[in-house]
């Protein structure tokens, strides 16, 4: 395949590929069948794979994840869709107490090859509970792996890799980018490993760390900074647990400065972990403290002011300036 695709299309094609390749792969969730999901990510899958493999579930998140646990114990590889980030909490117990621990409790006898897809993040003007960034809550849970895709090509490959992974993967999809940009998918170019971060723009003066929806913001910030003669390196983390620190540390050792941008609340978020690890590993290379730009420590606000809450180009650039001023 070599064509221009959106993130939605990439994910859909990736799911389809995985289902074709392994009859044990099941898709389940609310509205994933006939409707193709509220974001149409599972569009057409039920028509092609049938109701036994693309399962429209009752409206019960704990039920969806809990039955997926049973299906995984029976040898299936369920791919579960949580309709929106803010609705994952009814399933939180099943995810952190059961999904995350089953392999450990059973001494490796009961693996949980499950993918929990969560459209996450804001910027779509939604009512409350439709714009959350719950990644730190899952990244803080041993036994889970957490990844976030940021573009159509990664969406295509990462979903397949997550499904092939024998560990449970929380798969975060930046919902505001589902239908935003088209990118060329050239299948002859082989993908990066799932649990790896990637330098998406080279630069010298500071390192921007981002994932999911903020990668686009970070790249825009780097463009804007370049106009002023500041050269920023941008890293798409892609994997949040485990973190792939190699490229991050290499970069910060060169630039001496790091700014983390995420939509989640700053307090105790991924940025805090990154700041701690960077400080531990490259203290003597640092010219400035690691700075964080993110959602404020408020509940996600009403959508008319969400642009104020979300880390935008200006706030990222402001943090870069503060870092450069040290």
């Amino acid at each position: 395949m070599s064509e221009q695709i959106t993130l939605a299309k990439g994910l859909n094609a990736g799911l389809r590929k995985a289902m074709e390749g392994d009859p044990k792969v099941l898709v389940m969730g609310e509205d994933v069948g006939k409707l193709g999901g509220v974001f149409r990510i599972t569009d057409g899958l039920q028509k092609d794979f049938g109701e036994d493999r693309v399962i429209d579930s009752p409206l019960a998140e704990s039920g969806i994840v809990g039955t997926a646990v049973g299906l995984a114990l029976r040898g299936y590889r369920p791919v579960v869709e949580i309709q929106f980030d803010g609705f994952v909490y009814p399933a939180y117990d099943q995810i952190v107490c059961q999904v995350a621990k089953m392999h450990y409790r059973s001494k490796g006898r009961s693996p949980m090859p499950m993918v929990i897809r969560i459209p996450f993040g804001g910027g779509i003007g939604a009512v409350e509970h439709h714009s959350e960034s719950p990644e730190a809550q899952f990244a803080h849970t041993p036994g889970l792996k957490v990844v976030a895709c940021s573009n159509p090509v990664d969406g295509y490959w990462m979903i397949q890799q997550a499904i092939a992974c024998d560990d449970p993967v929380i798969f975060l999809e930046p919902k505001r980018q589902y239908h935003a940009d088209k990118v060329l998918l050239d299948e002859s170019i082989s993908p990066d490993p799932l649990f790896s971060s990637r330098v998406v723009r080279r630069g010298e003066h500071a390192t921007l760390l981002a994932y999911g929806p903020t990668v686009k913001t970070a790249l825009a910030a780097a463009d804007a900074a370049a106009v002023e003669g500041k050269s920023l390196e941008v890293i798409d983390l892609r994997t949040l647990s485990p973190l792939d620190m190699g490229p991050v540390l290499d970069s910060v050792r060169r630039t001496g400065r790091a700014v983390v941008a995420h939509e989640a609340h700053v307090n105790l978020g991924l940025g805090a972990e990154l700041a701690a690890r960077i400080t531990e590993e490259c203290f003597y290379s640092l010219e400035a403290p690691v700075l964080r730009v993110g959602g404020f420590d408020t509940p996600y606000p009403a959508s008319r002011i969400e642009e104020e809450f979300l880390p935008d180009l200006d706030r990222v650039l402001d943090a870069v300036d503060r870092s450069l001023d040290y």
Binding site: A60, G66, G70, L73, Q94, S106, K107, R109, S110
Partner: protein, 386 residues
């Protein structure tokens, strides 16, 4: 019948009466507390002498596992133990109704069912001693790991049953092949969302799962009245599948009802809720003090319904058991008790570095580094001690 003045229909307490200590007229029973064989139009069946002796042996040995573990806890060998005293018939009846290809999702109290599945009782102690989280292979025994979070396993059971449907092992008519799942839980668990969601999923997909609720009247100190205003088995109807209340102290009835429910499931006719009406003779766990909330009168009344003595009376009266059998089983129980005592004390503690094992199927670099760091740290003590 009193009709509520709100016009919403009958008052439930009027309809069902207050808590029924005898289980009410719906109770399926094949053996009275006095050891009389009774008959039931729907669930009756014949039992061979061999089956009856098997039930007796299973119940006596299960009780011994329980009393032995309780004693081990008192001696500080176990951190805690969830006792099943009085629930032997409910568990053996349900456990013996299973076929090898069936699969069980237990709570933390299904020691008798574990026994029926062939899990070494010593393995059950590991969790309570704190050496592991369960060391048996669920796939090998068709018996899942104990689940501490109340009700979570009801969903796992339902999902597993959905997997059986997809594997084509339901409703084929081949008794060697058709399979079903049992989800165990308590009366308190019936209030949990997960159990209710499991009912909905199972009904919606007609999954081959038997929901087996041991209504032992208490969820720690909370009485059944705090969980339900109607008899629990009647809830099933609201979810769209049958429910039945069986005398959980009657191993014959429990066996017959569970077997029928399992067969229904294996045949592809969907879920059933079995409410085994019983009583928790012991404390909730060894940390509990039931004298704070429970009436000793109730305990005395339920002692008269003891599941083991009622079967023994029936068997002795009908020449199916004699002193020889009783002695032989007792001897076996003593041997088991001895093995559990010695085996429990001999269980090695896990090594500190074991905690890093099996967090992931594909281990992460982060965790590997943490393990190595801790190993190096531990090694400094060994060096210092030299």
């Amino acid at each position: 019948m009193h009709v509520s003045h709100h016009g919403f229909g009958p008052d439930l307490v009027e309809v069902f009466g207050p808590s029924q200590t005898d289980g009410g007229p719906e109770l399926v029973q094949l053996l009275t507390p006095e050891g009389e064989r009774t008959h039931h139009p729907e669930f009756d069946r014949d039992f061979s002498a061999e089956e009856l002796r098997g039930f007796y042996r299973d119940m006596v040995l299960t009780r011994r596992i329980d009393t032995e573990a309780t004693a081990l806890q008192r001696h500080g060998e176990l951190g805690i133990w969830a006792q099943l005293l009085g629930q032997e018939a409910a568990q053996i009846g349900a456990g013996r109704a299973l076929r090898p290809q069936d699969h069980v999702f237990p709570t933390y109290r299904e020691h008798g069912v574990a026994w029926c599945r062939g899990v070494d009782p010593l393995a059950l102690l590991g969790l309570f001693r704190g050496v592991d989280h369960g060391s048996w292979d669920p796939a090998e025994f068709g018996f899942g790991l104990y689940t501490i979070v109340i009700g979570a396993q009801a969903l796992h059971a339902t999902g597993y049953a959905m997997g059986m449907q997809r594997d084509g092992v339901v409703g084929t008519g081949d008794p060697e092949r058709d399979a079903a799942v049992v989800a165990h839980f308590g009366d308190g668990a019936s209030s949990q969302g997960d159990v209710n969601e499991a009912f909905i999923f199972a009904a919606s997909y007609q999954a081959p799962v038997v929901f087996f609720c041991q209504n032992n009247q208490w969820a720690i100190s909370e009485p059944i009245e705090r969980q339900s205003r109607i008899p629990l088995y009647q809830r099933a109807l609201g979810f769209g599948f049958p429910g039945v209340r069986v005398d959980g102290n009657d191993v014959l009835a429990t066996y017959a009802v569970t077997q029928a429910a399992l067969q229904r499931a294996r045949d592809g006719q969907g879920p059933t809720l079995v409410e085994a009406y019983t009583y928790r003779m012991g404390a909730h766990t060894t940390t509990d003090d039931p004298t704070r909330y429970r009436l000793s009168d109730d305990v005395e009344r339920w002692k008269l319904k003891d599941p083991i003595s009622r079967l023994e009376v029936y068997m002795r009266r009908n020449g199916l058991a004699d002193a020889e059998l009783v002695d032989a089983v007792k001897e076996e129980a003593d041997e088991l008790g001895h093995r559990l005592r010695e085996g429990c004390k001999a269980m090695p503690d896990p090594r500190a570095l074991d905690m890093f094992d099996h967090v992931y199927a594909e281990e992460t670099e982060e965790l590997r580094v943490q393990r190595e760091g801790y190993a190096a740290y531990l090694a400094t003590f060994e060096e210092a001690g030299r």
